[in-house]
Point group: C2
Chain length 356, copies 2
DNA sequence: TTGTAAGCGTTATCAG
DNA sequence: CTGATAACGCTTACAA
């Protein structure tokens, strides 16, 4: 004859009453770290009773008392951008096994919204923060870290190296792309660089500048153009700009896949086929780019792992005795994925090969 | 000379001391719903002080006292599946403006993990739940709803109509697809149906069965094959099966885009081109399918709106005085997007046109 | 080994 | 209109 309709939640007190001990005993028995303080048989009984009564700790009370929420805030520009879900998934997988959960927020690239979200999350007492939305200059974030709140940036980093990060090996990615293109005979390689306010855009562009000389690529100002955002529309615009300058190139290295998608579309509008007339490369290997026409040659990043490592590291930071530790910076290896959007340049039609 | 390093959080008491009133007065002044109880000037002072001291409510204390967390749990099969991010985004947009946040969990289609997540979320005292992971038979979910916890299923629904839902007009989607195909002259139309344990798979299949007769399509058993999951691999397997039976068809209606992607790949392996030899349609219009070769004809669902409506409705349910209300069921309209994967059947090579 | 009691920051009830 | 006070459920010295 028990009421099943409006069930009040079972508390420690209920369990204590059921067993005939004090709440504090129950509390100790239920926490693995303090269980040893209790007589094994009593502990056993308590465990059983709490199971039977379906006791679940009240997270609010726990938080109020301990000042810990086992919740972390995750801020991304836009969860709808295919780059982020795998990262978020990785974070959640790492957190779940440790009893943490993530609350999520989108900034749409607006730094004011980032600030607002961080506020909201702090008000909710998150134990730490994972930020995929940071720009290179981000005083607010440095301050958070300085205040002792565990913070990690993923995919991107801030210039200030006091805030921990998990990122991809951007320079190596660009080096691989260039090596590949060079091996196909390309010498006039253009670059659609990403926003320089983001570490990804800056690092990839830096890689391009660093390697193109040594690899024997033509070093022409006109071959580089900067996108204002990592999206298809900017990819298109940049190709227009490249073409408008009259720059000559046989390949375009794009700072990410979405720019590449836009670039290919724009080329095609101008009657330039990919890869017959110009090879194009992307970066990230986001879902579906292998099904595009042509399938995109790109750099595969370990998105899931980026998130997972960040989640793990963050928990480590949270549970480490407070105080001084060096901010860790994890750099994950990448992989070159060769597909149909790159191919050897057409057989030299008379001008012969380069010097040397 | 203020310490900026280890700042303790400012509480109601701090504000009260600063202004020289009691905490309860501050509490009242800060809550818009009770602000009218206190003298305007005092309220003014309190607002100012709380601003100046950067007071933020302690969410844990609020929750402990009120039994409300302003947090809702969102459960999806896999955030990495492109169908879900827009829905989640919609949910978050609806919640954010109302001061709620979402915590997220992935089940990978495993019902036991769904149960586990719901447990975790309840333990954290979520005010409500949005589930994108439900199967048609889901006793656990019905029970939640019966216990009075606000629950909404999105994209899918459970058979038990006591749990609220926001879904797409599946039958209409299939009807549009079939109308389109018929207008192109197709009569032998196959169907790769989705899992029948999911409302989406079942409703789309039901639509196919309902309309194919009236529309004059050939009504052949062999033209229907069931996928065990909504993914590319199953799409491929189903085409193999279709081909193995020797079924003849000029078009395939797939229960979602991923099945269609797999189907096109498998057809191509058998030397059948899409759309020249067989037209293929998808469902969902997920990102990038317009860039595929061929671009996919599909049904566009209002993913973002599905999430937004669900978020809104859930908050309404949460804030409604507890008790009896009918579970709402919202059905959103869809849109047919015609692209390159469908075309008119080849000019009749002798057999002439159908009767009539 | 277990019980006692204080207190985390709020809101709500009840006086004044 | 405002203040005092209790209570939400839990953890943790401290006492026994």
């Amino acid at each position: 004859m028990q009421k099943t309709s409006i069930k009040k939640r079972v508390t420690l007190k209920d369990v204590a009453n059921a067993v005939g001990v004090h709440v504090s005993t129950v509390s100790r028995a239920l926490d693995p770290r303090t269980r040893h303080l209790i007589t094994p048989e009593v502990a056993e009984q308590i465990l059983k009773a709490s199971e039977r009564l379906d006791y679940r700790q009240n997270a609010a009370a726990y938080s109020l008392k301990t000042n810990r929420t086992r919740t972390i805030g995750v801020v991304v520009p836009d969860i709808t951008n295919p780059v982020f879900p795998p990262i978020i998934r990785g974070v959640e997988d790492a957190l779940a096994s440790r009893g943490y959960v993530a609350i999520l927020g989108n900034t749409d690239g607006d730094m004011r919204r980032e600030t607002g979200l961080v506020e909201t999350f702090r008000s909710r007492g998150v134990d730490g923060l994972i930020l995929a939305s940071v720009e290179r200059e981000d005083a607010a974030v440095s301050k958070l870290a300085a205040e002792g709140l565990p913070v990690i940036t993923v995919n991107r980093r801030v210039d200030d190296s006091t805030v921990a990060s998990v990122v991809n090996d951007e320079a190596e990615g660009i080096r691989r792309v260039l090596t590949h293109l060079v091996s196909l005979g390309h010498r006039r390689v253009a670059n659609i660089a990403g926003p320089q306010s983001l570490s990804t855009g800056a690092a990839r562009y830096a890689g391009f500048e660093k390697y193109r000389g040594p690899m024997g690529l033509v070093d022409d100002r006109d071959l580089v153009v900067f996108a204002n955002a990592f999206n298809e529309a900017e990819g298109e615009r940049c190709v227009e700009e490249l073409l408008a300058c009259g720059a000559e190139f046989t390949a375009i290295v794009c700072s990410n896949d979405r720019l590449a998608v836009g670039a290919i579309a724009a080329l095609s509008r101008h009657g330039l086929r990919c890869p017959e007339d110009v090879s194009v490369t992307g970066y990230n290997d986001m879902p579906m780019v292998e099904r595009m026409q042509p399938p995109l040659t790109t750099i595969r990043i370990q998105s899931n792992k980026v998130g997972f490592e960040a989640g793990q590291l963050l928990v480590k930071m949270i549970e480490r005795p407070p105080g001084e530790y060096e901010a860790e910076h994890i750099v994950l290896p990448i992989e070159l994925i060769v597909r149909g959007s790159t191919r050897a340049i057409r057989p030299p039609n008379g001008r012969g090969r380069e010097t040397g």
